[in-house]
């Protein structure tokens, strides 16, 4: 039963791959998203420093995500 479910899921995934997903935001509609004020992390040298400040004083860590853009090594 479990094997059959997996097979169906694999078929569905394959079908989705064939049909392709139509991007609902076209490249020419990304003017706002391309604006520099929309950068997740416009100043990596500063934000990586702040992560360091918090991680030295709090128990939690991680979850900073891929927002950085290159090496904001701190």
């Amino acid at each position: 039963m479990r094997r059959r479910t997996l097979a169906v899921l694999a078929l569905l995934a394959g079908a989705a791959g064939c049909s392709g997903i139509e991007p609902w935001v076209k490249p020419y509609e990304r003017e706002n998203l391309a604006d520099p004020i929309m950068a997740w992390d416009p100043d990596p040298v500063s934000s990586s420093y702040m992560r360091h400040v918090y991680e030295a004083r709090e128990g939690a860590r991680g979850g900073g995500g891929a927002a950085g853009g290159g090496c904001g090594c701190n």
Partner: protein, 377 residues
């Protein structure tokens, strides 16, 4: 010492940076950073340079320095004020091939009693009409821990981080992000200088100290969600949330909201508020009932239950740099944050004349400043 593990940890996350599809801009940042809070002052320079080649390759190099002067609550109650320095170097390389970005980086952080080496790798791919970017991250760290004044003591930490990060374009004005990281550490995870206190009727203060003892393994999970929204009058609003838990029973929630507003063509204002709360580690206590009360003992305030509030702002001013024509654009930036830390079960032992365990709870505020120049070339 308290800063270094965080530093070692942090660099591990950075290659995550690789966004797919396009490499980061050629850019140099020179920063002076300053922290003052809880009797600790830290300042120093930081430099970050990134350069692309043939739109396919990018290299980066960084230098960072902390100059620490500490008379923190832990230091004034159990040791003597001290000064120390930490220096960190990093290099990174990125390769863009089609819609896939491969990144690798290495960093070294060094102090007189601690050294951390970290290598990190990531792969990021754009998919679904470039509306989605998925990145996988892996980081490997090895720290060497020693103790000043103790030539015999030497130990290590091995650290592995596995992460996945998804960025999704939701609408013409909204981007969403999700990330998950699993962090596994093994080795000497406590601070070799910190001590716990326990009830001791024979002591003048009513308590005595013994060294902390932590488990030699720790595994944590961090889940983060974020959204950034472009407002119609050209401004940006961002919300972030993170949940963290680990095998030491620390659970935390972090929420942040930030707003970016261009004041005119040259000046941009950023304001933000951050809230953080955590439960104490399972083996933490402000005052143990007796010596060697249990296998693991901690009174490190970073493992106590705590809440912090941060309110901050930033100003970026775009200017034309005289005699620096090789920069296409330059900005001068000032960022200031005020952080208030409040502890739920860590007491201020500077208070005297009260029964042990009834001292007032500790709290402190910190000022954090970053002043930096950025140039794009």
């Amino acid at each position: 010492m308290q800063l270094k593990r965080a530093a070692a940890f942090l660099v591990a996350l950075l290659p995550a940076a690789a966004g797919a599809g396009v490499l980061p801009e050629d850019r140099a940042d020179l920063m002076w950073h300053y922290y003052d809070g809880g009797g600790v002052t830290i300042d120093g320079p930081s430099l970050l340079v990134r350069k692309k080649f043939a739109e396919k390759y990018a290299v980066s190099a960084s230098y960072y320095m902390d100059m620490v002067s500490s008379a923190s609550i832990d230091v004034v109650t159990t040791a003597s004020p001290y000064t120390e320095e930490r220096t960190q170097y990093g290099v990174g390389f990125e390769y863009l091939r089609g819609k896939v970005t491969y990144a690798a980086s290495f960093s070294n952080s060094r102090e007189n009693d601690y050294e951390a080496n970290t290598a990190s790798f990531s792969i990021a791919q754009d998919m679904f009409g470039d509306l989605t970017t998925v990145a996988l991250l892996f980081s490997l760290g090895k720290d060497d821990v020693t103790r000043r004044g103790d030539p015999v003591f030497a130990d290590e930490i091995d650290r592995r981080i596995y992460g996945v990060d998804v960025t999704q374009v939701a609408t013409r004005s909204l981007v969403l992000g999700f990330s998950y990281e699993a962090i596994a550490e093994e080795g000497f995870l406590n601070n070799p200088y910190r001590q716990v206190r326990f009830v001791d009727p024979d002591a003048a203060l009513g308590y005595s100290y013994e060294f902390e003892r932590y488990p030699r393994t720790r595994t944590g999970n961090a889940f983060a969600l974020r959204a950034r929204w472009y407002l119609p009058y050209r401004a940006a609003l961002q919300g972030d949330y993170r949940f963290y838990n680990d095998t030491w029973d620390i659970r935390s929630h972090t929420a942040e909201v930030s707003y970016t507003h261009p004041l005119d063509q040259r000046l941009t204002l950023d304001v933000h508020y951050r809230y953080y709360t955590q439960d104490a580690a399972e083996f933490y206590s402000d005052l143990f009932p007796r010596a060697n009360f249990q296998n693991f003992l901690a009174r490190d305030k970073e493992l106590a239950s705590l809440t912090s509030h941060t309110l901050g702002f930033g100003l970026a001013w775009e200017f034309r740099a005289p005699k620096m024509g090789f920069f296409d654009r330059t900005t001068l930036n000032l960022k200031y944050d005020r952080i208030e830390f409040e502890y739920g079960d860590f007491r201020d032992l500077r208070a005297t004349g009260v029964a042990p365990g009834t001292e007032p709870l500790y709290a402190f505020g910190a000022n954090v400043v970053r002043l930096f120049v950025s140039g794009w070339f």
